[in-house]
Amino acid sequence: MHEMSLMESVIAIVCETAQLNGASEVKSIRLDVGVLSHINPDSLLFCYEAVRRGTIAEHAALEINRIAGEGWCLDCGKTVRLDRRFGACPDCGRYQVQTTAGDELRIKDMEVI
């Protein structure tokens, strides 16, 4: 379950940034997680409960923004919707699709005191 190490990274980055900004508590954290990324948001939330304990983010709410999958189909020459990683173009059915959105794994911002 790599969500545990990813969540540890999130908490480490958040706590470092909070300290650099002189904050005493993190109130909320927002993540961008694309639907085509290799993380499961439910697992992230589960790991978050364990990882945040004893840190200044202990009581922070975690908000996960899901970003829809999008790709550039070389055959159709246009942007198409992608529901699955390395999936086929929904229009032509071929696999010449380069993912352009939906694989984000980003800590966007946080609210601190």
């Binding site: 379950m1 790599h2 650099l20």
Partner: protein
Amino acid sequence: MCTVCGCEMATLEDGKSKTGAHGGEHDHHRGHQHDYGHHHDRHSAEHGALQHHQRIAGVHVPGMNPERIVQIEKDILSKNNAYAAENRARFGRDRIFALNFVSSPGSGKTSFLVRAIRDLKDRMSISVIEGDQQTSNDAARIRKTGVPAIQINTGKGCHLDAHTVGHAVDDLAPEPGSVLFIENVGNLVCPSAFDLGEAHKVVVLSVTEGEDKPLKYPDMFAAADLMILNKSDLLPHLDFDVGRCIANALRVNPHLRTLTVSACSGEGMEAFYFWLEAETARIAKASQ
């Protein structure tokens, strides 16, 4: 509230909210760009957070909400990737050719490495980092071949990360110009996300698994540069379509190179050795 840094300075002057207006009263935004997420870190380091931002914990300004938004905009994997970049720089400096072997458990990674090391150890200097949740069985198997090996036990972790690998490299101290094999934890999911600083990920798949594994676990086959289809000596006893398996892998990653081998009989291993020597030479030439 300013959506860039979360400050609410605008309410100070006349009591009216000027949310979102970056006007003249908002002068702490002058002279620097809110262009990327490291901005606040940089400012805090340069000026001290307490001077720069008036609204932080412990500094009470009447009429101001002490909460604020801090932009981060950092990749969740950025910590791991920074360690991976350090490892990669070190490998480049010392001309160490590092390969990260990934697979499901039981594909025959360790047997493959043992065979390759026995065949190659007189031709090149090799050392090995072994990753497993528990036991040092695999490192012991490697050491029997006479090359140095170090075991990383990840405990409950399901993959190696760049930080632990960096420490293992410190302890192992591979010779300049050598080959470093990193055998990751047997798991076709998590190790795909973690760059260790290696030159290539090599995914080992065995013919006793399904031809559709590349479609079931696409991230790993997309992250790899070479696929080794192992246990080819068992093909006569199995209903496994090599062509279909390779086609599935290429659908996920058109740039993937594939080799069919048997670490048991030795069939096809020479092709891997050729690839290894060619890649080592290419990297050595590139670093000159």
